[in-house]
């Protein structure tokens, strides 16, 4: 539909729908809904906005995920933490791992009390280590509404509001199915917008375009670990369903039937990426028997959906595969967290889920969804709780409300950005395996030259119309994200976790630090020493 009105960058912002809240949550996936429920539980007035629909939006809803759910038995907890330690390049923080395990255990048990249909093991013991996305997120929407949270669906946020001190003061955006605008004045804001998968069509990921990273950075928020952003997931060629786990039962071959040397879903994905740069690669789940197939079909029905629809029996037939970019969604980089309540460096602004750095529990590599799921529900809970306390302090206080959005907001007065061209130009730098998966200093610098030039070209430009505002801001967010990623990747002159440098293939223990990044016109890089591990973690 055509939208004739415009958002003007004026001192007293206004919109078709204006609301006041203690806490505004941006994003309605697992992290956002847990944040909203936690904030409402503390007595805050909460509004949650989702670009799509809270309940179906994001990487979790169409999928299924393991959860890092470990009963509070010291031996099992110790083992759970240790098993991740080296995988994550020793950049995780044991204290955060421990509190995430505690909070996840409590939250998953809440899900059971709320009626989530956990199966049992045949002897009456419940199995709570995985969640079906559609069931989980339908329940979370129901609980969010029951908590009294006001939900605005189909309402992308295009910019944050700030006050005269620089603290966050709400956000503004569009109601894309109504053709008008919204604005929420809030004492605190939780960014729960997910990571950035660069519109790769990986399952559920096309709403995850780094929007929240851009919003936060425009207020001066910092990022951490953005070099850990090279996640790719396996899928049927031309498809979207990225459930890589079942490929553990696969063998990989070229079109002529000869094996792909070194290929494996775990520990051999680089070999597949290298092969795919020039040839097609085929998989067949020939290491699974009929009973395993039965278990697989029940556990992840959507894995089989595209295969069934294409008429392929993956257990007996070879089918072509691809690797789809998941970027920071299954990477670990995101907004930098500075306290236990998931505050960012901007007063009143909190981050949760994939929008926040997951280095705290995963270091340089996640390996799978279970840690991200645990992090989403834990960090969401903490961010919502602390945002409630902060936000309520602003009740009744008079503040000035100023728009904080930069490049690409709809104003109608400036030169317009061609959103589609911008998106394609960013994808050309971040999607190719040989640029992002297998990195080199030369290719990173080469890409950064073009990405920085793109930014110079658009940093004072705007959306073509309010209709185009969402698409334009997505392109701007992807561009900003790609520059933090590659600048961070260039600064880490070693290979650690998922960050692989051809020119520095070894780990360098002089680089046990977190890479901090920020800035839009000028991207800057800093370093923060990784926390010293506690004895008990290294003991087992």
């Amino acid at each position: 539909m055509t939208i004739s009105s415009t958002i003007a960058n004026i001192a007293e912002p206004s919109a078709s729908l204006e609301l006041d809240a203690d806490v505004l949550v941006i994003g309605g996936g697992p992290a956002g809904t847990w944040a909203a429920i936690a904030a409402a539980g503390k007595g805050a007035r909460v509004v949650l906005v989702d670009k799509g629909f809270c309940g179906s939006s994001g990487a979790t809803a169409p999928s299924g995920t393991g959860v890092w759910y470990v009963p509070p038995d010291p031996a099992r907890r110790g083992k759970a933490m240790n098993s991740r330690w080296d995988l994550g390049g020793r950049l995780a923080d044991p204290a955060w791992m421990r509190r995430t395990l505690d909070q996840t255990y409590r939250n998953v048990n809440h899900l059971a009390e709320w009626g989530y249909p956990f199966p049992n093991d045949g002897e009456g013991r419940p199995i709570r280590v995985s969640l079906n996305g559609p069931d989980y997120m339908r329940l979370m929407r129901k609980r969010t509404k029951a908590a009294g949270v006001k939900i605005l669906d189909q309402s992308p946020a295009t910019e944050l509001l700030r006050d005269e001190t620089g603290a966050v003061a709400g956000a503004a955006g569009v109601r894309r199915q109504k053709g008008d605008t919204w604005l929420v004045r809030a004492g605190a804001v939780v960014i729960a917008t997910g990571g950035c998968a660069f519109l790769s069509r990986a399952l559920g990921c096309n709403v995850l375009t780094g929007d929240g990273l851009l919003l936060a950075a425009e207020l001066g928020a910092e990022l951490s670990g953005m070099e850990f952003s090279s996640a790719y997931a396996m899928a049927l060629e031309g498809g979207s369903v990225t459930k890589t786990r079942f490929y553990e039962w696969a063998s990989f071959t070229f079109e002529d039937g000869s094996p792909v040397p070194g290929a494996a879903s775990k520990g051999g994905r680089s070999a597949i990426a290298r092969a795919l740069a020039t040839r097609r690669v085929f998989a067949r789940l020939d290491k699974a028997d009929a009973e395993t197939e039965q278990a697989m079909r029940h556990s992840q029905p959507n894995f089989f959906l595209p295969l069934d629809r294409a008429g392929i029996d993956p257990f007996s037939e070879r089918f072509p595969i691809t690797l789809l970019l998941e970027g920071t969604v299954r990477g670990t980089g995101g907004l930098r967290i500075v306290d236990n309540g998931c505050a960012t460096t901007v007063p009143g602004l909190y981050a949760a889920g994939d929008a926040a750095t997951r280095e705290l529990i995963c270091g340089a590599f996640t390996g799978g969804g279970s840690h991200n799921a645990a992090w989403a529900m834990s960090s969401g809970f903490w961010a919502g709780s602390s945002a409630a306390g902060h936000g309520r302090d602003y009740r009744g206080r008079s503040r000035r409300y100023l728009r904080a959005g930069g490049a690409g907001v709809a104003d109608g007065t400036g030169r317009a950005i061609d959103a589609r061209a911008l998106v394609s130009a960013v994808q050309a730098e971040v999607t190719p395996y040989e640029r992002n998966y297998q990195r080199s200093g030369e290719r990173l610098a080469d890409s950064l030259g073009r990405l920085d030039a793109l930014w110079s070209g658009i940093h004072t430009a705007q959306a073509a119309s309010l209709d185009e505002a969402q698409r334009t801001r997505e392109g701007v967010a992807m561009l900003a994200t790609s520059r933090w990623m590659y600048r961070s990747a260039l600064s880490r002159t070693e290979s650690r976790g998922m960050h692989k440098r051809e020119d520095f293939p070894e780990k360098d223990d002089a680089q046990l630090h977190h890479t901090i990044a920020g800035g839009l016109d000028e991207v800057w890089i800093g370093r923060e020493r990784a926390s010293a591990p506690e004895q008990e973690v290294l003991a087992a």
Binding site: F53, A61, P62, D135, D153, R201, G239, E248, P301, N302
Partner: protein, 107 residues
């Protein structure tokens, strides 16, 4: 991507319009929804899961169309197959025995 809305099955409830994460559909007054922005479809299958009439079909290709028709899908019994596989039906779904499910644990 989303390819078919069955005119015979659709009751114009517009649930798909509301729940689509990427805003692919437009509601149409007095008619069934329109696939207005097919290119924006991310092939997440959520519209199929949420459709109470099993009127929608998302083909497996995320990067183009297959040209599948409603008539062919009716013949194959393909409408509603995703909803059945996740147990979003009255019948629900049955979990295989624990010893079968445990085949996934120790690989």
């Amino acid at each position: 991507m989303i390819e078919v809305i069955s005119e015979d099955r659709c009751t114009s409830c517009n649930i798909c319009v509301n729940i689509c994460p990427t805003n692919v559909f437009d509601a149409v007054k007095g008619g069934i929804p329109l696939i207005a922005r097919q290119d924006d479809c991310q092939t997440c299958f959520m519209c199929e899961a949420y459709c109470p009439e099993d009127a929608l079909y998302v083909a497996q290709k995320a990067d183009g169309v297959t040209g599948v028709t409603a008539a062919a899908l009716e013949e194959q019994g393909a409408f509603g197959s995703y909803r059945r596989s996740i147990g979003w039906t009255k019948e629900g779904r049955t979990r295989p025995a624990p010893e079968i499910m445990s085949r996934l644990d120790h690989h």
